[in-house]
């Protein structure tokens, strides 16, 4: 029976292995978008949609700048880079024809809507309202008769006061201070000529393959420029460069940490057992655990997030627990055959697995997609490793009772003696009092910080280059924006028009340098009708006849009223207005893009209390969310502690169960206390580790509680080994460059160490009150 099961398990593992090998051949689908780790629920869907639209729009934009005192060298460098980028087919550099066409296409698009003033610039509206219609008539005369007049017959017939050209030239310049110089966007600053290449990605910014190819192409071009034209400076702006660097760091780190973890594990087992067989068996347990976990995660999620990969590889430290408890039985003398040894460890590892699974299962309730992946990865890995121990270890185990290791056993037993010997009664009380003191002192200093910007270490060089480019262009598009929510586009446009006065005030207060909104390009129908009436009353009725006479038009064609009023839908569909589509998220949901934002507080205050025009600061919102989930992770810890307690009550009775739960509970309390004492704020990622501390800590106390008389040393050795391995894997994360990962490692380091030291405390209580076994 057990043989058949072992064979069945072999078939499953082999199948998973083959599938993984096929996947590896095609390249593992690894995701690196840190935002993908964010919860999808509990967010305003409109804000979320808008955030995605904004980050997608910003994320796809790249700017490269090439600066040199010699204009030709700057231009040649830029053209070299354009050629390299075009060759990747991953992005499209904006060419000069497209740039020149923008204005022409817009003029053609707006022309049929011109004529009777339904498109009116703000300045012209002010002129008409203040009774200065004659200024407009004079301007039209100037433009008609002036040098190189733009006026043609069709325009003059439709729009004799030339209100449309005025409207068009009032639209914001799409590229700040940049001007075209022989087909390239250029700005001259001091002695240097800067040439700019705007580039649009064809793929999402976090598409790892496209990202790598494009960044390689840019890097290659920059290297060549550095060799052939050493005086040329190259600046980059774009989320892709940050994303690429983040992904590289995470992958390098993950491979380094997991290598150290694996090598450390191997060395530890070989040194302790002085046999190859326990090493091979435990490698088998770890190998099947990790392979099955990978296969399962790919199967369920279709890919794996780089963070899950990072945490997942650390799982090696936990899956090794069960195999180690089994293998250390070789240091004992009672159980000498495989089946005997399995029978002895089975209650411990079953109970241990159950409690740890509870911890991870609690994690799957966290609405963070990344955490779900980690939890699923861990659950599959743990169960697989457990099955391997139960089905395969007794079959392959040929290790005779070991004679060495007396000193090691003595060393490992020390915590057991500390918690059981009478002579340490005072020391025990002092230690517990010390723990209590630490908890009290720590919580006095306890503070939290959920600022999302601390999560990712941004390259300072890239940040500086980005700032320099924004200065050169004279504008920057911010991730913060105003979100306009209304039942339909018309209502949204009206709300934007109502916000203009406040926005202009913010510009004069230098809170922002500028803004763009759909209403700039498409006035509301209401505004179009009002403007039309204003033009009719103040301009056409009093001045049209006279104006025509001055133009010398004897028999002028009649003014043709526009066929229809301009709407957002038709304008977006025409696709001629740059970036308009990015500002219209959905019908009635519009974005007001803010430029050069320096005082988010003033902007927030200006729109405070308004439900339909809201200042959205994704970074701050994201941080608030992390704070909420930090609270939720703490709740989960308490919840999983309670679940473990229920299981323990079922097994040991209420009073003993309370003793068994104490070590992991104290460990979980000491983590925030010690983190606070080191001066660090407590974050969501610290809290996330707490759930695991409960699971692992419960393993240790259960192993102690289930220990048979005479096997205390063996159990303690297995716990020592398990703790050492967990620290080798989880604990190593404190060296990560990413704060989130480092925080998680810190929790594991403190929690696991404390759990190991305190574990025998509970077992002592259980042994005293253990009911006689059948």
């Amino acid at each position: 029976m057990s043989r058949a099961l072992a064979l069945a398990w072999l078939a499953i593992v082999v199948a998973a292995g083959v599938w993984l090998a096929l996947m590896a051949h095609r390249g593992f689908p690894i995701q690196t978008d840190l935002l993908a780790l964010l919860p999808r629920e509990e967010r305003d869907p409109i804000v979320q949609q808008a955030n995605e639209a904004v980050s997608r729009s910003i994320g796809r934009r790249i700017f490269l700048a090439f600066g040199d005192a010699d204009r030709d060298r700057a231009r040649a460098s830029a053209q070299q880079a354009v050629a390299a980028i075009t060759a990747t087919h991953r992005a499209d550099p904006l060419d000069s024809t497209t740039l020149q066409d923008i204005g022409r296409k817009m003029a053609i698009f707006y022309f049929p809507y011109a004529g009777v003033g339904n498109l009116l610039s703000a300045a012209d509206r002010t002129l008409l309202e203040s009774g200065r219609a004659a200024d407009i008539a004079n301007r039209a005369m100037a433009q008609t008769f002036g040098f190189g007049s733009p006026v043609d017959a069709r325009l003059l017939a439709t729009d004799p006061f030339l209100l449309l050209p005025s409207f068009l030239s009032s639209l914001p310049a799409p590229l700040g201070r940049l001007a075209l110089d022989e087909g390239l966007l250029t700005v001259v600053v001091g002695p240097a000529t800067w040439v700019f290449i705007p580039i649009t990605l064809r793929h999402e910014v976090f598409d790892l393959k496209a990202q790598q190819e494009l960044v390689d192409a840019v890097d290659g071009a920059v290297d060549r420029i550095a060799r052939t034209s050493p005086t040329t400076r190259v600046l980059r702006l774009g989320a892709i460069f940050f994303a690429n660097q983040g992904a590289r760091t995470a992958i390098e780190e993950a491979s380094l940490l997991s290598t150290i973890s694996i090598v450390g594990t191997i060395l530890l087992i070989v040194l302790v057992f002085r046999r190859l067989s326990p090493l091979l068996l435990n490698l088998l347990a770890v190998g099947t655990g990790v392979a099955m976990a990978f296969a399962g995660t790919f199967l369920i999620f279709g890919g794996i997030h780089v963070a899950a990969l990072l945490f997942g590889t650390s799982l090696i430290g936990v899956v090794v627990d069960y195999g180690l408890l089994y293998s250390t039985l070789a240091f004992g003398t009672v159980a000498v055959t495989g089946p005997q040894r399995l029978a002895q460890v089975l209650p411990s590892i079953t109970l241990g697995l159950s409690t740890t699974l509870m911890g991870y299962a609690a994690l799957t309730f966290a609405p963070f997609p990344g955490l779900k992946q980690i939890a699923v990865f861990a659950i599959i890995g743990l169960v697989s490793s457990f099955i391997t121990v139960v089905l395969w270890f007794p079959v392959f185990d040929r290790v005779a009772p070991l004679q060495h290791g007396r000193k090691l056993l003595q060393l490992a037993t020390w915590p057991w003696i500390f918690w059981s010997a009478d002579r340490y009664r005072l020391a025990r009380r002092v230690l517990l009092a010390g723990c209590l003191g630490l908890v009290a002192a720590g919580f006095a200093l306890y503070r939290t910080d959920d600022d999302v910007r601390r999560l990712q270490a941004l390259s300072p060089t890239l940040v500086l280059e980005q700032m320099e480019i924004q200065q050169l262009i004279g504008s920057s598009v911010e991730a913060q924006y105003l979100l306009v929510g209304a039942p339909d586009d018309e209502a949204a446009l009206q709300r934007e028009e109502a916000a203009v006065a406040r926005l202009d005030k913010l510009v004069t207060e230098r809170a922002i340098t500028g803004y763009q909104m759909p209403a700039t390009f498409v006035p509301s129908l209401q505004r179009q009708a009002l403007d039309k009436a204003l033009v009719e009353e103040r301009l056409l009725r009093p001045l049209l006849a006279q104006h025509r006479a001055r133009l010398g038009l004897a028999a002028s064609p009649a003014i043709v009223a526009p066929a229809a009023l301009l709407t957002v839908a038709t304008t977006v569909a025409a696709g001629t207005v740059p970036l308009l589509a990015d500002m219209v998220v959905a019908p009635g949901v519009h974005i007001v893009v803010l430029q050069g934002l320096t005082r988010p507080d003033l902007v927030r205050a200006a729109f405070a209390g308004q439900a339909d025009v809201r200042f959205v600061n994704p970074t701050a919102d994201f941080s608030d969310l992390l704070g909420a989930y930090r609270g939720r992770a703490v709740d989960l810890t308490i919840y999983s502690l309670f679940l473990v307690l229920c299981l323990l009550v079922w097994r040991y009775g209420m009073r003993n169960a309370l003793w068994v739960i104490l070590p992991p509970a104290i460990a979980a309390l000491l983590v925030p206390a010690i983190v606070s004492l080191t001066g660090q704020p407590f974050t969501f990622f610290h809290a996330m580790g707490l759930v695991l501390v409960i699971g692992i800590g419960a393993d240790y106390t259960i192993f102690c509680a289930e220990t048979l008389e005479g096997y205390q040393s063996v159990t303690m050795l297995s716990i020592l080994l398990a703790a050492a391995m967990t620290l080798l894997s989880f604990g190593l994360l404190v060296f990560s460059g990413t704060l989130a990962v480092r925080s998680f490692g810190m929790t594991m380091l403190i929690g696991v160490t404390v759990a190991y030291v305190l574990a025998p405390m509970a077992s002592r209580a259980v042994i005293r009150h253990r009911p006689p076994r059948p």
């Binding site: 433009q143 008769f145 040098f147 043609d152 017959a153 050209p165 075209l180 004897a554």
Partner: protein, 204 residues
Amino acid sequence: MIARRRIVAATLGVLLAPRAAWAQSLSLGQDEVLRGRFTQQRFLQGFNAPLASTGSFILAPNRGLIWHGETPFALLTGMGPGGLVQRVVGGATTRYPASKLPMLAQLYEVFSAALGGEWGKLEGIFEVERKGTPTKWQVMLIPRKKDGGMPLQHVAVQGGRFVNSVEVARVNGDRDTIEFNEQVVSRDPIDSEASELLGMVSHP
């Protein structure tokens, strides 16, 4: 719309200057300026009579061009590397900086190339046909790209020592003719208002 004015402006700049290079008998020195009078007639489709205007102009190498309309409407226009500026006499000044419309920069290249008498540079944008003698010549400029933002059919220039007339034909059938006369080269200072306008457009 504004861009189209630039095109014509640039073209005119081209045309006023190169006559020196063509004739090879006159070249404006650093502080020399060309002054003269113009009569402009604008033939628009669907209008019975042409829109006519008259006035004077000043061309100052490396600084720009002043176009001073007198009838039927008093208007001062300055054009240079920095863009275009218009002042209604006794009224408002309107600036159209080069950065507002990227196309202008390209067009100013045409302008400045011509100011230097460098026909070679113009040949990138126009096909240049020359006929006649140094004292009586014609130049026909035809844009190489019809959709390249230049809504021009052709530009025809006639001249001798100076440019005598220019015809600008647009793709939509509209046509401008400008006749020049009383042209004088001198070192007389430019009046303060024209200087002010040139100051606003002579630098990018």
